[in-house]
Structures are given as C-alpha cells and as structure tokens.
Symmetry: C4
Subunit: 244 residues, 4 copies
C-alpha cells in the first residue's frame, strides 16, 4: 500500500510537471520568443530522474499536456507516442551536469541569437542584466567537425558545460551557443522560460547601448553585486516571497 | 463517365488549391509581412498546368477563395473576373523553370527588402538560416533598361532564374530581387509562405548580427550541412512526419 | 427649392467628409503611427471651400464625427465647438497652394520623424518607394527665428511649399519638416493617411538599407519610373480600378 | 463632526489616489514599457503627506487598488500588508526635493534604458522632445561604492537631485539613472506615466536619428522654446483644456 501511495504521488507530480512544461512552452510563444516551432522547454523531476519535454515540430496551438514526452536522463522514452524535441540531448547534458537546474528553455529569440551568431558574450551594461545574470552571458566555443558529425545535440550540451567550467550556472542561468541560439535554465521550467524572456530584453538593450556608445563600460562591480543580491540569496529584499 | 469523374476530381483539387492559396496569402498578413496589398502568393496544379493566384490590389479582408484567379502557364486567364496580381509573370517564370516548385510567395517584408535594396546576399550566419536555406540567399543582377521597359515582370522572373544557374532552387527556396524585394517558394503554397516568414526572421537576425560584429564569419560548412540535413532529405530527424 | 436641394447635397457631402476625416485619423492610430494625440488628418470640400479637421488634443477613442471642426480656407471656424488641431494653418497652406490635394495627414511616425530630425531627404532605394513617391522625399529648410516667433504653423506650410518649388506635389505626396515630422497628402483624406502609412514603411526600410550598405545606390531611374507609372497615370495596370 | 468630515474627504481622496496609481502602473504595461514587474509608479497626497505606491514584485494582472501600499514621506508604511516597491526611497527623495512633483514613474523601457546604460543624455533633436522636455534629458553621475552599499535606493534619489541642481524638474520631467533606467514625474501620477511613455518614444527616435546622422544638430533654441511653450505655461494653445 505504501508503494502504491508513493506511486500515486509521483504520478500526480508528473502530471503537474507536464502542465508546467506545456505552460512554459506557451509562455515563450506569448512573449514573442518563438517563431513557428523554433523552441523547446523541459522540466525535470529530480526524485524520479524523469525529464518532461515538448515533442518535436508540433504546432503550439495543438499542444496538450499529454503530448509532452517523458524520458529518463539517458534520453530513453518512458511515456509518450511522439518524438521528443531534437534538442533533448542538450537538455539532458545540462540536467546531468548542473545539479541546481530544474528546467531548461531553448529559443531562437532574435537578439540573443544575434549575439550568438556574432560570437560575442553579452556584457553586463546595466542593472536589468545584473538583476538576473551575475556576469556576462558567455558564448560556447565552436564545435569541432567531429562533434558536429557525431552526437551533435549531446555535444552541444558538452560545449555549454565547458563554457561554465569556471562559472556558476546558478548565478548565470543562460548561455549563447555560438552560431546557434541561447539556452536558459532555472530552478524550475517556469523560471527557465522567465530567464529566456529577460535574456532577450537584456540582449536587445545591450545591442542598442553599444550602438549608442561603442565603448559603453560594463556596470561597476559594486552595482552589479548590489542588484543581483537584492533579488537573489539570503539577503534579497525584492518582491513579496522573501519578506521577513 | 470516366472523363466526368476525372473532371470532378480535378475540380475538387482546384477548389482546394484556391483555399490553400487564400490561406497562404492571409498567413503573410498575419505574420506582419504584408502592408496593405504589397504581396501575393500562388500555387500550381502541375497535373492540370493551372496556377491559382491572388487578384491585384484587393484588400485582404474581402478576399474569398472565389476571388482567386486561375491561369495557365502562359498567363491566360482560365477562371476569374478579377485581374491577377501584376507579378503573375514572375511567378509563372518560376513555375516553368523550377520543376520542384509548387507555390510562390512574394512580399515586401521589411528586412528582406532592405537586403534587396542594399544589393547584398544574406549570408548564412547561424543555424536558423541553415535549417531552411542551404547557402546564402542570392540577389539578382540589375535588369537592363530594355528588360524594364519590355515585359518587366516576366524579365524579373528571368533574372531570378539567372541567379540560380549554379544554385539548387529546392535547397535555397528564396531570392532577393535587387532594389525590389524577396520571392520565396516551396513544394506547395503553404511552404512558400512559411519560407517567406522564416526568411524575414533570418534577414532580421543577420542584420542585427552584422551590426554587432561587422565581420561575423559565416556558419562553418559542417554545421550548416548538419542543420539543413537534420530537417531535409532522407536522413531528417526533426519533427514528427519523418519519424521512422 | 433648387437652393435648398443644393444645400442638402452639400450638407450630406460634409457629413460624409466628417466621417472620412475621422476614419483617416483612426487609421493612423491603428497602423501605429500616432502616440496619444500626436497627429492629425483633414479633408477638403473644394466646391464649398471647407476644410474638416480633427480637434486638438482629444483622445482618439472619444472622437466622433460631430467633434470634427469645419473651417474655411482662412481658418475661420464654420462649425464646431472644439478648438481645431494646432497644425491647421499648415494644412490650409497646403490646400491653398497645392490644388490637387484633397486630404492632409500629419504624424510623428518614428522613422519618418527620425529622417526629419536628421535633416536628410529619404532617397528612393527600392520599388516600394517608387510605387508611391516619384523622387526623394524632400526636407524643408530651417525656419528663421522670425518665422518661428510669428505665425509658426502657417510658416511651416510656407516652408513646405518652398520645398516643392521645383517638385510636383501630386507625384511626391509627402515632405519631412526639418526637426519636426512628416506631412503627407493625397487626392482625399484616406489617400493622405494611406501615404503616411507607406511613408513610414519606406522610411524604415531606407534606414535599414543604409545600415546594411552606407552607399546603397538609388533605384535606377528606369525602374523608378516603371514602378511609379504601373500604379499611377493613364497606363497604370496595378489593382482592379483601372482595369481596361 | 468637522474632523470626521475632513477625515472622510481625506479618505475618499486616498481611495481615488490608489485607483490612479494602479491605473498609471497598468498604463505602463499597456504601452509596452514594463516587462514582468520591472517598473513602478506612485502618487502623493501633498496635504496628507502620504505616498501611494505599487507593491514589489506582484504580477500586474492580480493588482487591485487595495494592494497599493501607503507610506509617509519617510517611508514608514501607513496602510497595506505588502512590501512596497523596492525603489520607494528613490520616489520619496523626489517628492521631498521637487515640490511640483505629484507622481513618479520608473520603468526599464528599452530605449531610454539603453541611453542610461550608454551614459548619454538624450539631446533634443526634434519637436516631439521639445513638446515635453525643455532641454536634454540628463544622466546622473555614478554612485560611489559607499552610496551603493549604503542606502542604495535613497542615494539613487540623491543622485537624481544632484543632476537637477541647475535644471528645473518641472520643465524636464525625466532623468536617466546611469547604468540603470529612467525615472519620470509630473504633476500627478497619470502625467508621470504619460511622460514615461513619451520619453521612450523620444529615446527611440533620437537613437534612429543619430544612426542616420551622427552629428545631427540639436533643435534650434527658438523652435525648442516655441514647441515647449505652445503646450505648457500661460500662453499654451495646444489641446482643449487651456482654450480661451
């Protein structure tokens, strides 16, 4: 009976995750980050080791929770009749390597993608950036021809992890895959989508800023820290949830 | 009786094509590619040699399937009381010369048009481009004064064909007519409109990218091929339709 | 009785003009050319010598045909309880000097205004421009301090007329008032608003084009003429109305 | 009884202010100036010395008048269960130092923020700017490390006041906080929000203008004065309210 109860809770949690993953995917569309089917968001149930992700290439207005695909951390399909997003192996690499990550969002949002195509990290030029990303948003190295012809999507994940060898993925929850587009993440799939939306705004404003002043200086470190820490960590005082 | 049945099937197919052509024209409007009546999309029934195209200068919110104009490949009107889009001869040139083309879409979408006005091919700077266009999107040569004063719209089609003498129109389903605007195509009219929408996004991102980095390198060939081929051809693994 | 009948017709025509002027003002809002109340459109009844214009500073969602202000060509109010748009004297100068003009539209649409602020005429870089404006869109000279402190809005009209001393206002139905914003016109108020919308698109595309290629050449004259004349004049063959 | 009547009037006025503050916050969202919860607007009741401000980090679609937080000019909460916007001390500094200010609006609107990030004042390049801001929109100096680590939001307010030592806040109702974003104000909270919307449009057009002409000259002083004074002060003749 105990096992049955556990199983029921787990199944309810998975149903909830399906809905959250669908909702995060729709949020990306509503915010104008996704053209046609150029994006995907996933969430993980760490206790079960199960990942829920959008199916590949299905129009968003037809998507329902039951279309979400459930896989394990190796990518084996556990539930679902549809093929998962082709970027699944990249998501899985992030879940395996970044233990704080509960959700991943990938889009081709236009300004973040332009920075990725230009191969330039997004510098922190203002407090909007500092509120969310505690440092520049890095760019991955180019994949080798072998990495491209091999397990390409998985190797994209490996390249992201390499870019974070000396960075904290919980403090900078986004990366630009060179020549491709951004991947964002967060403690859950809603936060991952939220970070993707903010990243696009930050990318847009950084673009405008450098057009106004090619040598705009990065935000002073003290101010960068101030803004990041008033929203994150134990001394945060923004919003209602952390009210003391 | 056999002839009558054939005729009936053919007539049903044509009715379907009218609806698809109307729908593709409306998709161009919904996606913000068409201001007032600055655009047109057509589809072809290869078996009948009949082309269905939007009438010229009619407001989109009044358009109905029965307003679509049906012509043969020489441009002679077979059905319809309205004058066809003035760009019809350009569409016909594409149908006559590119056997894989089932639909054509022409817009003055603003970023693709800016590239056409600048006379610059759109280089492949990222995977979004590579997913759809297997190479730079080319620009036509200038028409001669004689070509302009002669059968201008037909000669525009000829210029497009010249730009593809060494290119595969099925792998690069778009062109920039110099000083004018883009023409896109695809296996059917829905694909042509879809490609027009993606071309505009690609044109926009390429514009932003070059503003961020004037010498942004083209996507490495291996990555370009990888992305094009994961969506197209016999080894494609994106989306659901080609699931094995 | 004859006089009464004439009066009735004239009054019906004026009621129609009120509705058309209101509708043109609303079209400017719908197309995103007007922020708050930064714009105005007017129409003229040439037979009566009466001008109908939007009142000054009234929110658009409260505007009704009866709020439109009717004046004569000297600006004296003939009907209406509200103050007319403060730019009325500029509109009147255009009606008095350009006999082909039946409607005027003024906006601060952002890209056309940027060209006006930069003091640069908009060159014809493509066929979209050529379809509507048979030459560059000119910029007025600076007003003198005396013209500014005097009858400013009327003198703005005079400056526009000076800019057209050697240009045909029927072939180039728009101007950029230096440091201010565009004025557009046409055979009626709907055409004036339509031209304002197209001018903004043309201004935007010219901006993008020059960012892509600082020395983008103007459209060759033959092509410019071809496009203008396929939409305008006795040999036009675009749209349905001129179908032969 | 007299005291009771006074108290009732004051309470009705406060209820009205709550609604106005909520409405101004929603206007910022409707106009696209606010992403998620990145903005806040407040209003003051000068007679009571009470400030009404949006709570921190609450989604806009859940906001009701009763969620607004009421504080005194020292920031002590007088009414409300929610934490006020974290930028409250900046608003208070403006109310304490600028006696003509009845409302304050803060956003991260993208173009104004880009100017703030670039550390460049917005020059007056056209009449749209002159209609609202009687001079360049200034940028604050950098805060010192001590000001950042101390009472940061209050010190931001102090930096704004420093930027206006030789400027009239009633004639230039906006400032760019360096590396952060704009603050705007006005005689009441609706005017503050309205000025924030116009500032963003002005920032956008100034950006486009300088991209078209790096050395675009500021608007001549006489024209700047003309436009500001036709909308403001005793000789204003724009709109209906000041009709003589």
């Amino acid at each position: 009976m105990k096992a049955a109860a556990t199983k029921k809770i787990s199944s309810m949690r998975l149903a909830r995750l399906r809905r959250d993953v669908l909702e995060a995917n729709l949020e990306l569309v509503r915010r104008g980050l996704v053209l046609y089917t150029f994006g995907n968001a996933s969430g993980i149930d760490r206790d079960e080791g199960l990942v829920v992700i959008k199916p590949s290439g299905v129009p968003y207005d037809e998507l329902k929770p039951e279309h979400m695909v459930v896989t394990d951390l190796s990518g084996a399909i556990v539930e679902g009749n549809l093929r998962p997003s082709s970027d699944l192996p990249t998501h899985l690499a992030l879940y395996r390597n970044f233990p704080g990550v509960g959700g991943v969002a990938h889009t081709h949002s236009e300004f973040a993608t332009a920075w990725a195509q230009a191969g330039r990290p997004i510098p922190c030029l203002g407090t909007t950036h500092a509120d969310y990303f505690h440092g520049s948003v890095p760019v991955t190295d180019e994949l080798t021809a072998q990495e491209i012809s091999g397990d390409y999507e998985k190797n994209t994940g490996t390249a992201i992890c390499r870019a974070f060898l000396k960075l904290d993925p919980d403090a900078i929850p986004a990366v630009l895959v060179r020549g491709h587009a951004p991947f964002c993440w967060g403690p859950d799939v809603a936060a991952a989508a939220h970070n993707a939306v903010v990243l696009e705004a930050v990318a847009r404003m950084a673009y405008y800023t450098l057009n106004l002043s090619q040598n705009a200086p990065p935000l002073p470190r003290a101010l960068h820290d101030k803004h990041f820490l008033r929203k994150h960590g134990k001394n945060a005082y923004y919003g209602q949830s952390s009210k003391k």
